[in-house]
């Protein structure tokens, strides 16, 4: 392990909340806010004086009005909820199926040999390429979307769990065996926790892939509520401001979920496990 830092004894750092924290928050805020303000101002100037019709490039105000209207009507919340429920369903079911399969591939040579070719083949087929097929099978229904997401999540989770289990530090397995963990207890007490950081980063990756696919999928299939669905229908109805507002929401929701929920979960395991790895 090259990452061992000798001589370093981590002690809880007591931050000086009185000054440095507020200062830090302020600089963080400035770094985030300034580019946003610049973009918004440039946008507004271009919308007003750029000579582009408002139907193609609405003003900032129009986009925010559309956003407020969507929120007031409730469609905004219904769309976010619709998209999220689909995502959660597939990620949960996909993780439940993919994790054990990936673990089996990692632990048993026979499973690995049997599954490595199919897995790599399927990983080379993008989930979106399966749309014609799932539409034939399930029609323009919810299942056409869910099956694709499920496919993508299972494969991503499998691949990450597999490599995660394979790269467990062998000395941990030896230590586990030496201190009385065998068979299933070795699995639960050593192998699973040792592979947990890779498994969790697999979930994070699966989430972000599924998110991308889902937005597209909702455009292809009429599902009633969903962010992709909203974007698509706004175009059909020529509501350009709603298209922009929808894109804004897709970006914000995706960003918040990825950064706040998934990255935090991954950072917790990475810190604990002491892997010196820089999170992107």
């Amino acid at each position: 392990m090259a990452s061992i830092q000798t001589g370093r004894l981590a002690k809880p750092v007591v931050r000086d909340f009185s000054e440095s924290l507020w200062r830090r928050l302020w600089t963080d805020f400035v770094y985030v806010a300034v580019p946003i303000v610049v973009v918004l101002v440039a946008w507004e100037l271009f919308a007003r004086f750029g000579g582009v019709p408002a139907a193609l490039f609405p003003s900032v105000g129009a986009v925010f009005r559309a956003l407020v209207a969507m929120a007031a009507e409730g469609t905004l919340w219904a769309d976010i909820a619709g998209t999220f429920v689909r995502l959660l369903k597939c990620v949960i079911v996909g993780a439940v199926v993919g994790t054990p399969l990936g673990a089996l591939m990692g632990y048993f040579r026979s499973w690995e040999r049997a599954l490595v070719v199919p897995l790599n083949f399927l990983l080379a087929v993008p989930g979106t390429a399966l749309f014609p097929l799932t539409m034939l099978w399930f029609g323009l229904s919810e299942m056409a979307i869910l099956s694709i997401l499920f496919y993508e999540v299972v494969l991503t989770v499998m691949a990450n769990t597999w490599t995660g289990v394979k790269s467990i530090d062998l000395s941990l397995i030896r230590a586990g065996r030496a201190f009385g963990a065998t068979g299933t207890s070795l699995f639960w007490r050593v192998l699973l926790p040792a592979a947990l950081p890779s498994i969790i980063s697999g979930y994070r990756l699966a989430f972000s892939r599924a998110w991308r696919i889902l937005i597209i999928a909702e455009m292809l299939v009429s599902v009633g509520a969903g962010l992709g669905y909203r974007l698509y229908w706004a175009r059909e109805l020529f509501q350009t401001d709603v298209v922009y507002a929808g894109l804004l929401v897709v970006g914000i929701v995706g960003l918040l979920f990825e950064r706040v929920v998934l990255r935090t979960a991954e950072a917790m395991t990475v810190n604990r496990w002491g892997t010196v790895r820089v999170l992107d």
């Binding site: 392990m1 004894l9 000395s171 230590a175 065996r177 009385g180 963990a181 207890s185 604990r272 496990w273």
Partner: protein
């Protein structure tokens, strides 16, 4: 109780038919030694002499090609809680705290939670980590990590303590500090110890006997009793005599091979 007997132990690697005469690598062909209850024995030798292989075989983490290993009259054929191992690379479980790491083997033995916590805290104290019981391994320095490794091995109250170059990954100063700590702990616990090292002074400082392994396939070229009273002083005159003897035993082999 803790008596270790190794009889006619042999280990060969990669013996393949039609490959270099079919012999593969013969680490050793016929190795015998024993360690009495409460005795601290080191095995030293040049790198590649198979000293870590001996430990892995005794640990049951590797299977011998011949011979047998007995701990308290019971044959070794797999890892077991009658032997506590301290690994060179520490091999602590990073998701467990110091005391949970120390308690790992106790949990395998089915010790009830309350008793486990009590014992774990005793051994955390013994290795000098009282204030760090709730820390995770990656928050500790190298020396402290190996203290956890030692506590984990002692906690299961093994018949034999097996230590595989336990201080090899530490810097020189920490290594000396850890040798002192181990000498103190050993005086307190009087465990039977098989200690692997390539550091001559370390072996003299700690051991009742030092076994020198050399040659290829390797054999025991010297079994030296260290009769310096404890606690030991590294500047004792006898210390230097032993050092010279051991150096000669190791280099004598090296020149024999060169000639």
């Amino acid at each position: 109780m803790g008596e270790l007997r190794v009889d006619n132990l042999a280990k060969r690697y990669g013996a393949r038919r039609g490959h270099g005469g079919g012999a593969g690598l013969r680490v050793f062909d016929d190795l015998s030694f024993s360690i009495a209850d409460g005795e601290f024995v080191s095995i030293i030798g040049p790198s590649g002499c198979g000293k870590t292989t001996v430990l892995n075989l005794v640990a049951g983490l590797d299977a011998p090609s011949g011979g047998r290993i007995m701990v308290d009259g019971k044959a070794v054929d797999r890892p077991g809680l009658d032997r506590g191992i301290v690994f060179q690379e520490f091999a602590l479980f990073p998701w467990l705290t110091v005391s949970e790491n120390v308690a790992f083997g106790l949990k395998s033995m089915g010790v009830p939670a309350q008793e486990r916590a009590r014992k774990a805290s005793h051994f955390v104290d013994l290795v000098g980590l009282t204030q760090f019981a709730g820390y995770y391994p990656n928050q500790l320095s190298g020396g402290m990590r190996q203290r956890v490794g030692l506590g984990r091995a002692l906690a299961i109250d093994p018949s034999v303590l097996l230590m595989d170059e336990p201080f090899g990954a530490l810097d020189a100063q920490t290594r000396v500090a850890m040798q002192n700590a181990l000498a103190d702990i050993w005086l307190e616990t009087r465990k039977t110890v098989l200690f692997i090292t390539h550091d001559i002074r370390e072996s003299i400082f700690l051991s009742d006997r030092v076994i020198v392994l050399a040659g290829r396939p390797s054999q025991i070229v010297l079994d030296l009793r260290i009769d310096i009273p404890r606690p030991r002083n590294r500047h004792d005159a006898k210390f230097q005599d032993h050092e010279a003897t051991l150096e000669l035993a190791i280099s004598g082999d090296a020149s024999a091979r060169a000639g």
